[in-house]
Chain length 359, copies 4
């Protein structure tokens, strides 16, 4: 089968590396270019990268790092792991040049015409791009995925919200150091420690969750009508964000019913068969002490979100714990699943699909 | 000055060791006996104990471990670090024999005639023991201190509750491994991990906080009229429980006013001058990323509770972070401060105070 | 293909769990029984086990745990993860009853007629069992694998010893907590700490290495004529023992030549194609800061040993670093590879090979 | 008493911060200036510093950070925590301007006329500065302290070398992350990991130890005639370098005798009474599992070196473990002790001692 060429922007950073690793054997996509800041361009990817994953894929290792310039990086699908400080400039240039940009940056997430998508949860929001392309005059488009902690919470909340309608949410997070990139958190700051603060994280969680669980009203996304308080913390975990939550709904669910709802949930119909989609999207634990990041983060190759400790709350209706892989489900893997869904839905313009790829 | 002899029950465990260390140079108390289970009796304290603190105090090291029997351990003040599985039997026998028992076990905390005390917060609850001694016919008494996480939260909540009256509270905790004793949490369970569960911890926090912040109505403690949801988690921290909280009050405080209230708070008047009382009881941070257990846990020799990130909450009124030393402020140090307050108030019967101690 | 039924003794412990996981999809072996101490017998494996790996294999989960009795556990191949305190009694009873026992316990490792085998290194030592069976009158046999740290070191030393003959060795180890079993090392002992002591570990490394690299002289193993000093340490690593070594040989190798020798090494000829054998057995790094346990321990599904930092030594000839997975390569995986080699060589008696297995 | 004003160069880094903390209540010295790179100058020390110790001393917090220029920073004693990349230029300029520079940088350590001093071990090397000042025409001088791991090893080796004469040494180190400064080691690199490499560390240990234990021959230091192999590793420890060593001497000591020698050692006579000198300089453990960094690093306020596991070695004579605080004993505290010794010996020129200090 002919694969679609894709590029990764910001390929040398932590999330960029996860993209490169996940794309190495992808059945539909073929890594055609890696791009990064000027400091890296012109070097091989091997030389430009302080690789922190297991073994660097050979094909990527030999590529020359390109500048983040759509004139030089010509792929119909572009995964962006760019820092927010540059994504605002670079991503639109790629969309303007015709690329579909799957972005992890926060810059465009809350724009009314930009879909913020966790496929199983709100894959139907992708249709926003039609209006986006018209309004902005772009042959391409920008699709964003959500903040990593918001993504994990949204996956666990979606089945319950769809059935009982969430009204109020408290969520406290314990987030892995890989969420801060590389080198990111200094070991002197986190060994044997908790940092009860992550810059700008709480507002992201609070505003992205209602959009993620909102309704595509045609003219845009009508955010879900619940309120959120987020309390974000950094802990000495490598990968895997844990969210402990208390939830109030329009209708109070019994615990057993909520568990059943979570277990039965499969997410959007047409997502389940995609190459990166875990089946089922959630794993639900009965053991009181699960999920745990170290033990459960690799479930579904990092794409499954784990849920447990569903129980009554003394003030709201229910409490539960959700945990998921922040750089896979909450970043690179989520973007790739978005791209797969775009292709599967034919939202990806036909003329972009290449007849052949040359390896 | 003549010191009052004291004994430690459960002296070989983690909290017992903290007692022994803190009592080594106490200005008012002198460690006269160490007691533990049959497995340890008859050995020297040095031989019976897998010591996990810095250096074992010499005097304690040479003591023979006694059985937990009031006929053999005759001290007017007895600090109990006993496990809940045996505290229910042993502690009353000491009270019956005339000792004042300062207990860390959960067994009697919620009894109507047993004070549950964090001195700066509710030192006036100690007067309950008069009725307790009459009702139970004990020449001695039992005074309990609270769950370690509840203690840390209560210290930070007290100033705000006293002024604005707490109505609703969400608290998520990130608790240190020393809270589970020694050997306690296996390294394979917690290295690079979070365990979103601590057995029986959440109900303790939820029921103890209203009693701690309640009013001594003479006939007993009238619990404060707020509700609590607790979400307790274990993290890879040695010492120091962190609690992130969202609070709703009868009257909404402005953030600046709340900060001022926290900073101005000195707790019960007659506690401030006691040997183990930190001055002030709270340290309040402006930096957004403090308190942190590793950096702040030793403040005030482990007796100061650190507070930070006081800010608005999107749903309730305020959010904040509190952190304190779980085996000092939340256990052994708290018990010792309770005993100091008993002595300072003269609640400790005169005939118990020895004329001389023989070293 | 018909699979050979196998049993695991000590199946509920940490190494026992690794056996159960590795055997779940083994192409030649089928887990037919799990056995453990009386505390566990009669329960399902799920109920008897505090499972610390990812997800428990379903088939094993439903098995009833058997006592470690050859009358009840009838499998031709028995993997033993028994503690040394009981292995000395139980393992011979299985051999006497006709089983081939693949043992991780230290008890029989240094017996003259018991092979101590790391297959790639000294697979030819397996032929010792012929004499063992005659001498002991056993229809079965005992084959041991080596101490986990000795195994990692032996794999890295073998190619160099075979070519240059090792004469003197200093080895300092930094060993993972999983080497102490579960619950094993208390988190209060190792978080942010190093323990420069592991009970009985240094003598094991010092006596096992010469036997592992020794010559099968027909009448027994002639130990290699080098001396060893081991300095064993525990560090806060989950899996993966790291050994830093200084080596003196009969002939001094140039660094480049030593690297070439390590890279070219394939181990015993007939091991390479076995199901659990990694290809190649060693991965050799040029980067100065590799191998590292967290990044390299999973290479070859935990069976590859990683080597790096080959350089001159100011006093001996060379220095290098070796790292491998202690509970896979150094324990369960090593035993399974031994069993595969026994089968492939036909050392496993024909009448033991079942015609069919019933699932 | 009038205190001598001192300055700290490189005051905002990790070692610089340790200097500032240790000098806050020093009985002889008064912190008069903090200096750092241009990025920090003109700011208050509070604003310029990402403070990673407990609480910043108030007096320092309010100081304006100065440039590292002897025209602006006029103190007779200057502690240098400068990076090696700039120390080579800056330190001589201060010596030329008349300051006594106590340096932690590697630049001048191996110069024949520059003392490399651990006071208890080789305080008599300080007299080298007379020649240094003549030869270089400096009114001031440069005195260096050793690499942090070499310092810890030298303290433990000195008593044995003085009595039995060391001939050969293998030393493997497990070094704390604070040795790499701040931010230093990324948490993604070290959580649950070992890095068997520290850039340039092994040659430093190998060349500095013979100088530290060498003899002041008047014309310069005659290095001790032993050889060293160092194998340096980074582990997930905050503070405290652990060194495991195998030693061969001219005369083989019995273990009991070696222990006695270590216990009896008091170091240079005139060091013992200095304000920062621990008494005794070594603490020697009998327990097999000590010293440990987390439990023993604070001994003697971080100035005591802990020794244990003295035992026979199968190849050399003895093995042992040494552990000490890398940023206190191995850096800032060691420099301060050097300055105290200079003053106590009167090597510090009289005209530099101020009559009064103005706060």
């Amino acid at each position: 089968m002919t694969k679609t060429p894709v590029a990764v922007l910001g390929a040398t950073g932590a999330v960029g590396q996860t993209f490169v690793r996940l794309l190495a054997d992808h059945p539909w996509f073929e890594l055609a270019a890696v791009a990064a800041s000027e400091r890296s361009t012109g070097k091989t990817y091997r030389d430009a990268t302080r690789w922190i994953e297991g073994a660097m894929p050979d094909a990527a290792a030999r590529m020359l790092v390109q500048p983040c310039d759509p004139m030089l990086v010509k792929a119909p699908i572009v995964f962006s792991a760019l820092d927010a400080s540059v994504a605002g400039d670079i991503e639109p240039r790629f969309a303007e040049a015709g690329a579909f940009v799957l972005s992890n940056a926060k810059n465009f997430r809350m724009e009314p015409d930009v879909p913020l998508v966790v496929p199983e949860v709100n894959g139907e929001h992708l249709s926003l791009i039609a209006a986006q392309r018209v309004a902005r005059g772009w042959p391409g488009a920008i699709v964003t995925n959500a903040n990593c902690a918001a993504t994990v919470a949204a996956m666990a909340l979606a089945p319950l919200h769809q059935r009982y309608q969430l009204r109020r949410l408290f969520v406290a997070t314990m987030q892995a150091v890989s969420g801060a990139g590389y080198p990111g958190v200094a070991s002197l700051d986190i060994l044997g420690n908790v940092i009860p603060y992550i810059g700008e994280e709480e507002p992201k969680i609070e505003r992205e969750l209602p959009k993620l669980l909102g309704r595509n009203a045609g003219w845009g996304i009508e955010p879900a009508s619940f309120t959120v308080s987020a309390l974000a913390n950094r802990v000495a975990v490598e990968h895997g964000h844990t969210a402990v939550m208390a939830m109030e709904f329009a209708t109070k669910p019994a615990v057993a019913e909520a568990l059943e709802t979570l277990r039965a949930w499969r997410g959007m119909d047409d997502v389940a068969g995609l190459p990166s989609a875990p089946r089922p999207p959630l794993q639900v634990f009965d053991q009181p002490d699960r999920p745990q990041p170290r033990r459960d983060v690799q479930a579904g190759n990092g794409m499954t979100v784990s849920v447990g400790r569903v129980r009554e709350d003394p003030q709201f209706h229910l409490r539960m714990v959700a945990m998921g892989h922040n750089t896979i489900r909450g970043a690179a893997g989520g973007s790739i699943l978005n791209a797969e869904l775009l292709m599967a839905r034919g939202l990806f313009p036909a003329h972009h699909i290449p007849l052949t790829t040359h390896r």
